[in-house]
Amino acid sequence: MNPAFRDGAREGIRDFMPMSVGLLPWAVVTGIAMVSAGLSPLQAAGMNLIVYAGTAQLGTLPLLASGAPLWLIVLTALALNLRFVIFSAALAPAFHDYGLARRLASSYLLVDGVFAMCTERLLKADDPHWRWGYYLGPSLWVWTLWQLFTLAGVLGAGIVPQGWSLEFMATIALLVMMLPMSRTRPMLVAALAGGIATVLLRGLPLRLGLIAGIAVGILAGFAAEHGLQKRGAR
């Protein structure tokens, strides 16, 4: 193994380690939510391997359970994943000298925590071996933790008796995820407008209410951002 790669991996895992603990409840809850939505352990493991995105998994499970149409499920997953387009744009320069295989692997493995902790050093480093280690080390660590602890949730949920409202765990997880996101005023406006619009538009045909609600939220947040800027400029 290339020594620069090994150094990079070691440092990456060390930098990421403090975030590991926060990951565990999400993994366990996602496992529980998959079982509560009616997935078998095999299906849950499959979803976990194929999708590998906590927010998209938790967000689409209630839709899967209620038999929502395929396109609505996919569009919702896309909306929940859109933040990754920004992460991807920010991180892309760090992969400029890699081939397609590494780019594909790093795309599948990209998660919020590694992006938050590792982007700055990745963009500054020149050695391609060190960079690859620094990205792959913590990414594979997160992947392994995620797979193991979702499995723990899947198996644990099977033991809990029926009627414990375990499906509500997914709602709690989504709610907790939303809070740090809504810390700035325009974000809060986007969340409130998106949520209220979805509730009010629930009668729309083809279950368009959720998609329309998301669109309302995006525009409201953008409008609030502009309004605040104008007020600040005056």
Binding site: V21, L24, P25, W26, Q43, G46, M47, I50, V51, A53, T55, A56, G59, P62, I73, V74, T76, A77, L78, A79, N81, R83, F84, I86, F87, S88, A89, L91, A92, F95, L100, R103, L104, Y108, W164, S165, F168, T171, I172, A173, V176, M178, L179, M181, S182, P186, A190, A191, L192, G194, G195, V199, R202, L210, G213, V216, G217, I218, G221, E225
Partner: protein, 108 residues
């Protein structure tokens, strides 16, 4: 198509949205650039989508508006706990505790 095949197809399509968004610029390389307006619009999508999933579950009962329900009470406790303490398990423990207490303990 059988239900099971449809489910796996759904997983694959959701998985494609994961890799497509994460890989968008990593795969394209630096040739592509995102216009700043689009970047700013995209930032609001996840918060709006999360709220669009959470709020109906907290406010609706069988499709009708019902603000006084155990799930909303539990949701408010979750918000309070999550904003006040940093323990990642606490919102789940307290939220489920309140919901189970109200539903099973008090029969609400």
């Amino acid at each position: 198509m059988s239900g099971d095949a449809l489910l796996w197809l759904t997983f694959c399509l959701i998985g494609m949205t994961t890799v497509a968004t994460r890989g968008s610029f990593i795969l394209l390389g630096e040739r592509a650039r995102l216009p700043p307006v689009v970047q700013r619009l995209l930032r609001y999508a996840p918060a709006a989508a999360l709220a669009g999933l959470v709020m109906p579950d907290l406010l609706l009962d069988d499709g009708a508006l019902d603000p006084l329900n155990p799930k909303l009470a539990a949701g408010l406790v979750v918000v309070l706990v999550a904003t006040r303490w940093r323990n990642p398990w606490l919102p789940f423990v307290c939220g489920m505790g309140v919901l189970l207490l109200l539903r099973r303990g008090l029969g609400w």
